[in-house]
């Protein structure tokens, strides 16, 4: 158990180092920011002076080491556009993204579990098929399109919910519904197929031979087993969700991290891009560490290995 968690921690640290290296290289090789920052009439001397001020005239390995050293100290550079620490800018935007992702994920996950359990306890094939059909239909519509549809219906036609922005609770409804409905479909199918497989398994039959009721069988035995593979997927997926909200943040004009990164890329504000990508990677690593801990807590076989 100790070794398992230690190896996961080391894995997380290695992932972060890899991400740091990746963003460092990516930004260095995607065009010269100095040219973009300076006015068109800037002289070669101006450019050289600017490059020197930013440390861009040093050799790549030296830049890399300097970058790593300050990154470890929490210094991810100063925004080229705003003149403030890049990390501060990123951290200001982080809550909006995390909020949206976590709320949508939690709602989606719990509704999915509830629906899967209800369907399994009822034992009704028809209900099961109906739920799965709706889920598949929802999954086949891309989120941005589904979001725009909701905006058309609830904001434009009925005028009951705000279309964009992040203000009071009502501004959360459409973005959260858009993402959560997608999550419901995903987890419902995962849990559903785990149930399906388990239904024919030996130990479920043996449990039924004890005379236990269906709710008890599903909640006490099948669900904990079904969740094991699902939470692994959930961890990765939540990470992807946080990093992948860019499109929806643009659709809903949501002041999150994704939009910040997109804006910063087009402005060649590479310290902010670096800090943003790094934060997303951090979130990814932390979530997956949590998943590993939860997994170990749920599965005795992992705990004892």
């Amino acid at each position: 158990m100790g070794r398992y968690l230690l190896s996961r921690l080391l894995g997380g640290a290695a992932t972060l180092l890899a991400v740091l290296t990746f963003v460092f290289l990516l930004v260095r090789f995607s065009g010269d920011p100095v040219r973009l920052m300076l006015p068109d009439q800037a002289t070669a001397e101006d450019v050289a002076a600017m490059r020197h001020a930013l440390g861009l005239d040093l050799s790549l390995p030296v830049q890399y080491l300097t970058f790593l050293q300050s990154a470890v100290q929490g210094d991810l550079g100063i925004s080229l556009r705003q003149g403030r620490p890049a990390l501060d800018i990123v951290l200001e935007r982080m809550p909006a993204t995390l909020e949206l992702a976590l709320i949508s994920f939690s709602i989606g996950f719990f509704i999915a579990v509830a629906l899967a359990v209800i369907s399994e306890v009822s034992g009704s094939r028809r209900l099961n098929t109906l739920i799965l059909w709706i889920a598949t239909a929802r999954q086949s519509v891309p989120p941005f399109l589904f979001g725009i549809l909701l905006v058309l219906i609830f904001s434009v036609k009925m005028n009951v919910l705000p279309a964009i922005g992040r203000n009071d609770w009502s501004s959360y409804v459409i973005p959260v519904a858009t993402i959560a409905s997608f999550e419901i479909a995903l987890y419902l199918r995962l849990i559903g197929s785990a149930f399906e497989e388990m239904r024919a398994s030996d130990w479920v039959r043996t449990a039924r031979a004890k005379g236990i009721s269906r709710p008890r069988l599903v909640l006490g035995h099948m669900l904990p087993n079904a969740l094991l593979p699902v939470i692994t997927v959930a961890g990765v997926n939540l990470g992807v969700l946080i990093g992948g909200l860019v499109v929806l943040e643009t659709v809903f004009n949501w002041p999150g991290l994704g939009r910040l990164i997109i804006d910063s890329v087009s402005q060649r504000d590479f310290p902010v891009v670096q800090a943003g990508v790094l934060m997303i990677a951090c979130a990814f690593v932390v979530i997956n560490l949590l998943v590993d801990f939860i997994y170990a807590a749920l599965d005795p076989r992992v705990r004892h290995s």
Binding site: G2, R3, L6, R199, A200, S201, D202, W203, R205, T206, A207, R208, A209, K210, G211, I212, S213, R216, G220, H221, P224, N225, L228, L298, D299, P300, R301, H304, S305
Partner: protein
């Protein structure tokens, strides 16, 4: 023994069961009748696919989703379970009718403590709650013979051995002291020595509680030893019913007789001749084909936070000689190192120390091209014929593949070799275009043997190659192996846990325990006078065998020599519809 005088506990009347399949309904059980008095035991005997487990599942109301009782009654204490509601069935399951399932590895919830799983049955039937239920669970573990039950109750299934898990399942089945216990092949997945202990335990507990037992088994000798009545089933039909001892000694039906004859016993005639008298004892070195010399195999220990646990030694100090044209058997319980021995010889596992000699040359460290050439001469056949063939490849393609890998022949000559291999294992040539799913288990194992033979190997390693087969098919495959050896001069390394089978086929026997050879010798000598206590234990554990029978002093008059002709009925392709239906009930 007559049940007429007492009101029966369970009475099955003309039971018919069908499974719905995409090809329409398939009948799985037809017209079963059974009366079981309280505290009586009945064995339901049959091969796989005979419907015996389906019938038992119907008693419990636990047929697979696509199965249903089409007619007949199952009267339990006068109540018809076929008509009973799910709630009524729930009250009976676990409290009135207990179940001990077949495979201890797959029948417990893997992430729940075993004590909790036992306590649950007491809780749902209102027999105990909270702490009292857990205390009772510990008592039950003690009752089924588990040491340190309080600690075991807190453990998870993966921390327990197969035998212990089966005891946990027995504890669950008997927790509420049911009037009826359905034991569905309760020991088939266990080692022979453990089998006997578990069956003894089950027998004494049910006798003590006055529980009636339906014992589902494929093993007729075992049934006759343990049960009052026996019911023989074949493909859904009841073939024979009567007192178990009578069915065993004076079977009325042809099928029962075949079943009895095919069951390997220690007094059945052997299929191979003893090694020639010219070479008694250990064979001369020029006649030895393969040899393990002081072979040792260790696996790295489990990883710890710092460093590793001590390595696990699977095989140690192994010396084994396989003479040309003869069969050497390695017997022992699971975990004794016999499969590791096979893998070392096949060079799929590298020995840690020691040497492997093949045809006079050390092959221990061969690599690349020369290892590839060695592989042509040593071929394996594995236990599970369902798992060892690619389901998407035709039989012909599977048999041809080794030839392609070793670049032997042209497509035309390869085709001929495939046909010859099919001839050799007595399969029709047109089977080459079929898929494994269209074949019976016995046919598949013949295909696996054909695939091994197509390269003209010198040595065939048979790792539990007949263990997964029904007795009648098993007898046929053993006969085939003996014939092929005679004809082609093959050598076999025969890995098995079944001493009765080994006695029929092997020239030399090595007995393994805890990774070491404890005893070896010529088959007849070793069986007649085992020197080691462990060997004697293994022999004594074989069902249907008493020391008297072994000595040949008291031979049951009805026992006939095994039929040498291939009975056509059991080795025909199983109807795929039938199988898909029964597979779901398994």
């Amino acid at each position: 023994m007559s049940s007429a005088s007492i009101a029966p506990l369970l009475s099955i009347r003309d039971l018919h069961i069908e499974f719905d399949t995409p090809h329409g309904p398939v009948s799985a059980v037809r017209g079963i009748n059974l009366d079981l008095a309280p505290a009586q035991t009945v064995a339901v005997v049959g091969e796989s696919g005979s419907g015996k487990s389906t019938m038992a599942a119907a008693v419990n109301g636990l047929l697979a989703g696509n199965g249903r009782v089409t007619s007949g009654q199952i009267l339990f204490e006068g109540r018809d379970l076929v008509q009973a509601s799910e709630a009524e069935l729930r009250r009976i399951r676990g409290s009135g009718i207990g179940l001990v399932p077949q495979d201890p590895m797959s029948n417990l919830n893997p992430i729940q403590r075993v004590g909790t799983q036992i306590a649950e049955v007491l809780k749902v039937h209102g027999q105990a709650s909270g702490r009292a239920a857990h205390a009772r669970a510990v008592d039950l573990l003690d009752m089924v013979g588990i040491n340190d039950p309080a600690r075991r109750a807190r453990q998870y299934p993966h921390e327990l051995s197969g035998g212990m898990r089966q005891r946990v399942l027995i504890a669950i089945g008997l927790a509420c002291r049911p009037r009826l216990l359905i034991a569905d092949e309760p020991t088939s997945a266990l080692d022979v020595t453990v089998q006997k202990v578990i069956l003894d335990e089950l027998q004494s507990l049910t006798a003590e509680m006055g529980t009636a037992v339906i014992l589902i088994t494929h093993d007729l000798p075992l049934a006759s030893e343990r049960c009052d009545e026996a019911l023989v089933m074949f493909r859904g039909d009841m073939i024979e019913r009567g007192p178990a001892a009578r069915v065993m000694q004076a079977p009325q039906s042809e099928y029962t007789r075949r079943l009895i004859d095919a069951a390997p016993t220690l007094d059945a005639p052997r299929l191979v001749r003893s090694p020639t008298t010219a070479s008694p004892g250990t064979p001369g070195s020029q006649r030895v084909l393969a040899e393990l010399v002081q072979a040792r195999k260790e696996y790295p220990g489990a990883a710890r936070l710092f460093g590793r646990a001590a390595p696990f030694v699977a095989v140690e100090g192994m010396n084994l000689k396989i003479p040309r044209g003869q069969t050497v058997a390695v017997v022992g319980e699971s975990g004794s190192g016999k499969s590791t021995t096979a893998k070392m010889l096949l060079r799929t596992e590298q020995v840690t120390t020691g040497d492997i000699i093949f045809d006079g040359l050390a092959v221990t460290r061969l690599r690349r091209k020369r290892l590839h050439d060695f592989r042509r001469r040593v071929q394996p056949v594995f236990q599970n014929p369902y798992g060892s063939l690619d389901a998407r490849w035709t039989v012909g393609a599977s048999i041809e593949e080794p030839l392609c890998i070793h670049r032997i022949g042209t497509p035309a000559t390869r085709q001929r070799k495939v046909e010859e291999a099919l001839d050799a294992v007595a399969l029709p040539r047109d089977l080459a275009s079929r898929l494994p799913a269209e074949l019976s288990g016995g046919q598949r194992q013949r295909v696996a043997i054909a695939r091994a033979l197509v390269l003209d190997p010198d040595l065939v390693v048979l790792d539990e190659a007949v263990s997964a087969l029904d007795v009648i098919v098993q007898a046929q495959i053993l006969k085939l192996l003996a014939d092929l050896q005679e004809k082609l001069g093959l050598s076999y390394l025969f890995i098995s846990h079944d001493l009765a089978v080994v006695r029929q086929i092997a020239h030399h026997v090595y007995v393994m325990q805890h990774g070491r050879i404890v005893e070896h010798g010529e088959t007849e000598a070793l069986f007649a006078a085992p020197q080691q206590e462990y060997t004697r234990q293994l022999l004594a554990a074989i069902p249907g065998v008493t020391p008297l029978v072994r000595a040949g002093a008291q031979k049951a008059p009805s026992l006939r020599p095994p039929q040498t002709e291939t009975p056509a009925t059991t080795d025909v392709p199983a109807d795929p519809r039938h199988r898909s239906a029964t597979a779901r009930t398994a």
